[in-house]
Amino acid sequence: MKVIQKFKGYYSKYSVSGQILSLLIVALIFSIGTKGNYLNPKNIQTILGLAGIPIILCLGVHQVIIMGAMDLSMEGIIALSAVVSGFLIKNPHTSFDVGFWIFPIVMSIGGIAGMGNGIINTKLRMPSFITTLGISWAMFGLAVLISGGISIPIRDLRFQSIMNGEFLGIPWITIIALLAFAILFIIQRYTSLGKHMYAIGGDEILAKQAGVNVSKVKIIIFSITGALYGLAGLFLVARLNSSAARLGNNTLFPAMTAVAVGGVSLSGGVGGALNAVLGTIIVVALNNGLVLMQVNPYAQSAVNGIVLISAVAMTINRKKIGLIK
């Protein structure tokens, strides 16, 4: 009961005490369940490695949710980014070989798609829910169209080493994810963009009255978010050493769960980059534990669904929403 109280009383907008507590509970349960195997260094490394890409995705989507909007365009943008990566990195189908230039390229593709989300949302005054869902399908369609629906093997082995390699025992992908975290953390706490993002999430109309350029802030944030999706798309390609449009499938649900578990309120204005990171680690750690305990995969899916609903139930501000639709 006290845990719930703690969750509900998120007065400080960055509070993470509930998340740390949840993580400890997850660790405790699975340590007992796996007789200590869960917490051995090798498994912790696995969890951190697995969490890398989801952290990047969750960092992206959580910013939009802080503004009180919604972003469902993740899977489509990943698909496009993955297919473009497949054709531009050394591969058997094309003669392109852009090497590490692919990083700015996929981030630009994602950024432009995200900007599209922002512009449609603010200038055409379309609900972000519909806008981003539409963009997601449009991007996915484009990706399938370009690739012809095939998988493209990657011949540049440096990419896979990013996914496999480690530095001081920490996987590279985790380090990159934490770097992304650090940048967003600074934006949120030490720039006016960050402050305005929270103001919009607190109350868009009041923020506008106070002089916040709501459209500009939204478009920038949607763009950053899109760029992060693009980056994640490239890493998904690197992990499999092969590219396909369907790489983005089933990434949205875990990211949303992570956002909610991290304590980022779906009603907007509360939470931050640290919440996104911790939320993702909790979700990944939970799934890893279920696998180690050899729980039936279908039951794992059910557990995730329940976790999502309970997390939202604890963080949503019902007073602000008024009508539940």
């Binding site: 007065y11 706490r189 030490y190 720039t191 402050k195 106070a210 204005g269």
Partner: protein, 506 residues
């Protein structure tokens, strides 16, 4: 005393559909003064201040700010020109800290190498709020603050901004600042305002006359969109102000008083010790068949909530309601409909009508059950029923299938009334039935109210003006601060004068 005017308004005019909100008058605001604006609801005070801060634009006349013609386009502009409004509910962002709220959108002042220096921001916030007597950490998130503290944050922000934009003597507008405060906080607010006055002009709107008389240097009285008179603090007396507020005595018949009749003996609705925490104390009263009872009181007196409890949209903590002697339990609007109580809300477009549906659907809303044939709705029956009631209430519409959104306010109101009549309501609560309705349609509504009462239906009304309350009702119940303070009889041949009544209201 020779004072310099900061704001000069010349022949300022503003009208809304059906109402002349400001009728064209000259008005000045001087440096370093606390100016109290008083007047009944709808007298024009709020319209006036909304013109000052750019939320409304005057239709006629001129607005000079510091000697120059005002260029204020919207409230944001107004803030840059040193005209700011502190809202009753407050407009601090609930999820930001005090410091973040104070400097929102002007954080760049604290920027160094592209990053905000949060420590400096917090330090500055601490000093600013200290001046306002607010000794709370600047990193406190605003939803933890009391309404009084939020007000202080807003006042600090407005003062700081006017300094930032180099505007001398800013104008602070406080609209009903004290309704949300505790007694001690009220004293504190005024103590601070007296300090702030040294560097600003303050406009105070309040329904509490005592407060205005005690704290304003100058008091301006408004009535029906016109500036009636002003007095200095030394001259001000509550009785005198009240006299000016209500103005003329009622001369001719405005409210179809001759159609008023004496209610029946039988009690229709009885309320016994009904109470709702924070809104109203235990209240008891009876309403007879065919009686028009007017519930009078200021915003915050608890009358709105009392009506909502009877209509079932709010739930009272305690107390009983009985209808025709039988106790009933009203927990939701569904219950009140079952007991034949009808509620005609103040906001027709939001609460009274489904504006995107047509007349037929709206009028039949409560009686679909009756209009079925073989278990399905019968379009012919629907049309018949709706047409009957629309005719009865004289709704004017292009066709019965027109959307209600396209009707005028008066016709929309008639549709709402038809809906309840079609549901055979025996008791109607009319929440400001003539708000925003033009004069001709008003008279038709007055006529309808009289007719309903003559048919033996009981009505509980809340009106726009005190005159309307007195004119329409058989009896007035006066509420103040959650208490039923007085009951005034209003027989058609001996209506009380508004002046005599207003003393118990304010």
């Amino acid at each position: 005393m020779n004072k310099k005017a900061v704001v000069e308004l010349k022949q300022i005019k503003k009208s809304f559909p059906g109402v002349q909100a400001l009728k064209g008058f000259d008005f000045n605001i001087y440096e370093h003064e606390i100016l109290g604006l008083v007047g009944e609801n709808g007298a024009g005070k709020t319209t006036l201040v909304k013109i000052l801060n750019g939320l409304f634009h005057a239709d006629g006349g001129e607005y000079f700010l510091r000697g120059k013609k005002s260029t204020i386009k919207d409230p944001l502009d107004a803030i840059k020109e040193g005209v700011g409004m502190v809202f009753q509910e407050g407009c601090t962002l609930p999820n930001l800290t005090i410091a973040e709220n104070l400097f929102l959108c002007h954080e760049d002042v604290f920027k160094k190498n592209g990053f905000l220096q949060t420590r400096k921001m917090n330090q500055a916030a601490k000093e600013l709020t200290k001046e306002m007597g607010l000794f709370v950490s600047p990193t406190t998130v605003c939803n933890q603050l009391t309404p009084a503290q939020k007000q202080m944050v807003e006042i600090s922000r407005l003062l700081w901004l006017s300094k930032l934009y180099g505007k001398e003597n800013p104008i602070l507008i406080l609209d009903e600042p004290t309704t949300v405060l505790l007694e001690k906080e009220v004293d504190n607010l005024f103590a601070i305002l007296k300090e702030v006055k040294k560097q600003a002009s303050i406009i105070l709107i309040s329904h509490r006359l005592e407060e205005i008389v005690e704290n304003s240097d100058r008091i301006a009285i408004f009535k029906d969109g016109d500036f009636v008179t002003e007095m200095t603090q030394a001259e001000a007396e509550i009785e005198k102000i009240e006299q000016f507020m209500v103005g003329r005595e009622l001369a001719e018949e405005h409210y179809r008083e001759s159609e008023q009749r004496i209610p029946e003996e039988e009690v229709f609705l009885e309320v016994k010790d009904l109470s709702l925490n924070k809104f109203f104390e235990p209240i008891s009263f009876k309403i007879h068949k065919g009686e028009i009872v007017s519930l009078v009181g200021l915003i915050g007196s608890g009358k709105e909530e009392l009506c909502q409890c009877i209509a079932g949209t709010m739930k009272a903590d305690q107390g009983d309601i009985s209808i025709l002697g039988k106790p009933v339990k009203i927990d939701s609007p569904k219950d009140s409909i079952r007991y034949k109580l009808g509620y005609i809300p103040i906001d027709r477009r939001q609460q009274g009508l489904a504006v995107d549906m047509d007349l037929v659907e709206n009028i039949n809303m409560l009686v679909f059950e009756r209009l079925k044939k073989y278990g399905l709705l019968n379009r012919k029956k629907e049309l018949e029923n709706a047409t009957k009631w629309a005719k009865e209430t004289l709704v004017k519409a292009p066709s019965m299938r027109s959307k209600c959104a396209n009707l005028s306010g008066g016709n929309q109101q008639k549709v709402v009334i038809s809906k309840w009549l079609s549901a055979d309501s025996q008791f109607l609560i009319l929440d400001h039935p003539t708000r925003g309705i033009d004069v001709g349609a008003k008279d038709e509504i007055y006529h309808r109210i009289r007719q309903l009462s003559n048919e033996g239906k009981s009505l509980l009304i809340m009106c726009d003006t005190l005159e309307e309350d007195i004119g329409l009702s058989n009896r007035m119940l006066i509420m103040k601060d959650g208490l039923l303070v007085e009951e005034v009889q209003c027989p058609s041949d001996a209506k009380p004068a508004p002046v005599d009544v207003i003393a118990s209201i304010v």
